[in-house]
């Protein structure tokens, strides 16, 4: 399949330029960069004054614009940078790079998006939120630790099952329905310390883009969102460093040129030192406890010549917990190698090779009496992608992706009295491939379209056993009727899906537009998780002959309007999503180290709908946004809740975020954020009965998620003190003081039911609060 794509690319690369020449047009292409660091700018604009048209740079900072030969004034711009104008006489294909000088420091600090100010109205894409790392850094954070995922949770349409829970939910989708990409490598578990912190080191991140709807054809494999995290390339001009000392992590990032304007690097590390700090306070018997997490992010890029550029990025992170003879650790490793190649001025190629692994290990005891368990998911992937800048009205993207998955659901053994026993499960293999083509087309000055098609094909592969299960009463554990053995690489089951994607924009006025989109997504992986919050030991599992791929169709409609020269950006979006083959679990399901885990699964439909209201102030000393989402997400699964629709665990009716930041003077800035959301549903008992001295809960109506836990709300505040302005300052250090959960609310994560430990015949409801009080903190950040 890839071969065909390459051939197609070659054909396009060879033949189309001649067509372009025959029309007496020429192409301007190149890169737009940050003049201070040499970093390529994503989404910077090129505007042709005479034609009133233009283009934006891609994720590698590359642009290409084909125009009739003539004389033009071009304007290059990016918010937070000074515009650069350039006059050209276009007679032949022209190539140049532009470096935009940085604006004064104060202005740089207030940038919220890094694109042209009215991008939200003008671009065809909708249901997309972009966050510059400078914005993320202003949001008050738990323990002062700037965090990508927790910031994403403040965006419209995004929620979480609770504080401290891992991952996030987008428009009624599960945590496993987000494709989280770090330099294009998928990250299977985005959390450190369960869900308190995310795995991305903010000092190494360049920008973050969340796509919730109208998902372009080059993305696939997850139903609900794409979180595209791009790492910095590293300062091309000079050696620089940054870092910080917080209460949780200490961080250090170094970057600089390896060979000026040819190669640069960035390397960033973090380690928690709570264990080091806590050690003096622990009793002797706790002093051997291990409790830390770290991550290391590194990237190099090398520009061979004007046409070829290479990038190599890697991530390694781990969380380690242990005491005495007990140890538990988990972490991600990713690597991506990318090759940017410019076939000619109009055809840009990126080829990415990806490796990603998530693993965990759990061990207790010794060889005499003990238990040990390892599990992982590994993928290898290749993704060639071509962008063909046909003319200012059409930009064609096409390519392919192939992924090989290797699952190790559980390598486990235990010992008893010196006897060892291996209880490992067999590995599972699967392959997912896709081809895609999409075009972004402008029709007249008001209408833009983005339409595409992705065709994905999936194989569940041997070697292994495939089981045939009986049909039984819905909700009851199924049994294995027969099993068949498959050889290495033999196809056990195959699925294929056409995934059409469409987005359309119609500009009503200079400052307002309406947009609509449709996308179909197919997901072949499932995170088997039956717990309130996803745990590090949840197992990623392939589609099999019994587990069908998940499918979602999403329709969205939005109105976008800017006020006061784009000082205020506002939008209203409504969406409806229809899910098929959603995985649920029988009562008291047993998913751990169970060879026949498929017997524990139920499948049903889902639906989610809602309205998102968003207002953002991007300019001035006072910036921030208000996001409000009114939403509903439900499932219908035969055998649960009397087979009627029920709200999902992460259904939140109201979800409000207010994020505000005020730059009082060049030295002091203050930020605050407030969140409010409806309590999540829970399944509460109605009755009780005594059995063998215990008081057992019972829900006589057999309802799922029949109550809601109390509403969630929280205020966080922070103040940042920057150093005095000084010419040629080499060391720039700032203090960040923050208070998380400022009014000390004990927000419930869940409510559970138990016998009172002292009087077992008395039953009680217990509120579990993950953060039970206000958390003050101070952090020191530096740059040099």
């Amino acid at each position: 399949m890839i071969r065909y794509i390459l051939i197609l690319g070659l054909i396009l690369g060879l033949f189309f330029p001649s067509i372009a020449l025959s029309q007496e047009k020429s192409t301007i292409s190149g890169y737009i960069k940050d003049g201070e660091t040499g970093e390529e700018l994503i989404g910077a604009t090129v505007f042709v004054k005479e034609l009133g048209t233009g283009t934006v740079t891609n994720v590698y900072g590359f642009f290409s614009l084909t125009l009739p030969n003539g004389s033009y004034n071009l304007k290059f711009s990016y918010v937070g940078f000074q515009d650069v104008e350039k006059q050209i006489d276009l007679t032949e294909n022209t190539k140049f790079d532009i470096e935009l000088p940085t604006n004064s420091k104060v202005l740089e600090e207030v940038v919220i998006t890094g694109e042209q100010a009215d991008a939200n109205v003008k671009n065809v894409e909708m249901s997309v939120n972009k966050m510059e790392i400078s914005t993320i850094k202003k949001i008050p954070a738990l323990m002062g630790e700037v965090d990508v995922i927790r910031s994403v949770q403040l965006l419209p349409g995004v929620s979480t099952v609770g504080e401290g829970a891992s991952g996030f939910n987008v428009r009624g989708g599960g945590v496993d329905q987000n494709l989280i990409l770090l330099d294009e490598a998928p990250v299977y578990n985005s959390s450190h310390l369960f869900g308190f912190f995310s795995v991305f080191n903010p000092d190494a991140v360049k920008n973050v883009k969340l796509i919730k709807g109208g998902i372009p054809a080059q993305y696939g494999g997850r139903l609900s969102s794409i979180l595209d995290v791009r790492m910095k390339e590293g300062n091309q001009k000079k050696f620089a460093g940054s870092g910080g000392l917080g209460l949780i992590f200490s961080r250090l990032t170094l970057e600089g040129p390896i060979k000026k304007d040819k190669a640069s690097f960035v390397i960033a590390g973090r380690r928690s030192y709570a264990d080091v700090l806590a050690r003096p306070f622990l009793n002797d018997d706790l002093s051997d406890s291990k409790f830390f997490f770290y991550d290391l992010t590194a990237k190099v890029n090398y520009k061979l010549n004007d046409k070829n550029r290479f990038f190599l990025s890697g991530y390694l992170g781990k969380d380690v917990f242990g005491t005495g003879d007990f140890q538990f650790d988990w972490g991600n490793q990713t690597a991506s190698a990318r090759w940017n190649h410019i076939f000619n001025d109009k055809v840009f190629m990126n080829m990415t090779a990806i490796y990603s692994k998530y693993d965990y290990e759990f061990g207790v005891g010794d060889n005499q009496d003990g238990f040990n368990w390892q599990s992982n998911v590994i993928n290898y992937s290749l993704k060639p992608e071509f962008t063909y800048y046909i003319n200012p009205k059409n930009t064609l993207t096409f390519g392919a992706q192939t992924i090989l998955f290797d699952f190790k659901p559980g390598n486990a053994s235990f010992n008893s009295g010196g006897d060892a026993n291996d209880i490992s499960l067999e590995d599972q293999k699967a392959a997912e491939s896709a081809i895609f083509v999409a075009n972004e087309q402008k029709i007249g000055p008001r209408i833009a379209l983005q339409y595409g098609l992705r065709y994905s094909i999936y194989q569940y592969l041997g070697e292994g056993n495939a089981y045939t299960l009986n049909d039984t009463t819905p909700g009851v554990e199924r049994t294995v009727v027969s099993s068949q053995r498959y050889d290495q690489w033999e196809t056990v089951e195959q699925y294929a899906n056409f995934e059409p994607r469409l987005a359309i924009k119609y500009e009503l006025t200079e400052t307002s537009s309406i947009k609509a989109s449709y996308n179909r997504m197919a997901q072949y992986l499932h995170l088997l998780s039956n717990t309130a919050a996803s745990t590090p030991i949840d197992v990623w599992s392939p589609s099999t002959n019994n587990v069908k791929p998940q499918i979602a169709d999403q329709y969205a409609l939005g109105y976008f309007r800017n006020f006061k020269e784009s000082t205020f950006e506002t939008s209203v979006e409504v969406y409806y999503k229809d899910f098929q083959n959603q995985v649920e679990y029988i009562n008291n399901a047993d998913l751990i180290l169970n060879e026949f885990y498929e017997t524990q699964l139920l499948f049903g439909d889902g639906r989610a709908y809602g309205a998102e209201f968003y207002i953002k102030k991007a300019k001035g000393d006072f910036t921030g946004w208000i996001s409000y989402t009114l939403a509903r997400t439900e499932r219908q699964v035969d055998g649960i809740n009397r087979s009627e629709w029920f709200p999902t665990r992460f259904d939140r009716t109201h979800n409000l975020s207010v994020v505000a930041s005020y730059q009082v003077n060049p030295r002091w800035s203050f930020s605050a954020n407030f969140v409010y959301s409806t309590g999540t549903p829970g399944t509460f008992p109605t009755n009780r009965f005594n059995i063998q001295g215990w008081v057992a809960p019972h829900n006589s109506e057999e309802r799922r998620n029949n109550y809601r836990i109390p509403d969630f709300h929280r205020l966080d505040v922070s103040a940042t003190l920057s150093p005095k302005e000084k010419e040629n300052r080499k060391w720039f250090g700032e203090w960040v003081f923050s208070v998380y959960n400022a009014y000390n609310r004990r927000n419930a994560f869940s409510v559970y039911f138990q016998e009172n430990p002292d009087i077992p015949q008395n039953t009680e409801a217990i509120r579990l609060a993950i953060v039970g009080n206000f958390v003050p903190s101070v952090a020191y950040n530096f740059k040099f």
Binding site: D419, R688, I691, S700
Partner: protein, 305 residues
Amino acid sequence: MPFTMKMPFQNLRTIWVMVGCVLLGPAITSCEDPIDVDLDEGTVQLAVDAFLTDESGEKRIVLTETTPYFDNTTQRFADGATVRITDDLGKVYDFQAAPEGQGNYIWEPDTADTNFGEVGRTYTLSVTHNGNTFEASSTVNPVPTLDSVTVEFREEEFGEEEGYYATFFAFDLPNREDYYWIRTYRNGVFFDDPTAINVSVDGAFGSNGADGFLFIIPIREFLINDDSDPYKLGDEVRVELWAITEPTWSFLGELASQLTNNGLFATPAANIRTNIVNADPNSDVKAVGWFSVSAVSSGTAIAGQ
């Protein structure tokens, strides 16, 4: 295998307490506290508590009715029921209301009739109450000998107070899948900590080929001791090994999960299974509870002797 999950999750929970209460600072005093929740009462149902053994003496079954979850005072006893057990040879055991009432029904063996709970027999319980008849059956499985119970003194160490700790020794019966419930008594009082409900498959947690092994250490030791209140000098420790059926093992596993289903990684609350089935398949009236007959072996030790 609901129980294979317990160990990792309990450790996750320990970690969580460390995270919440150590890492985030001493200011965090409590992460869990009781709150008031207004719950609707559901349908009242018959609840059967019938765990019988092959040991000599009277057999007792307790019948109650479900009450509202938060009602700590109301008790509803199912008096006036007809309770009868029949075995697969046709022998009938008629239970009578106990003198103390309160839903207790007993059967007293007469002198010639002491072999209730014979291994291999299947017993069927029938309860008629308020015009509905419910039935349940249970087969008696063989039980291995409990070789010994030992008690040793230990100094205080991680998570364990100073005191006497018990271990029992037994080997799983080979060449068959066996299900066990281990019940521990201190001076005759049943150790009923819901986190220590001790059930086993082949002497291990799951049905993963521990056939014929020595019972694994969590079962033979960890779950028969209370780390915060170990045995004291002179305490009598009695360990009973009950042979149970696979459904009974599932019932007890589900009961344990639902009694301790808390924390960040709680699973959705789910009803515990029941084997008490309405004899009329068209009836909507349901019951809860369990009927089980076990063969039992046991051992006893005195702390410090």
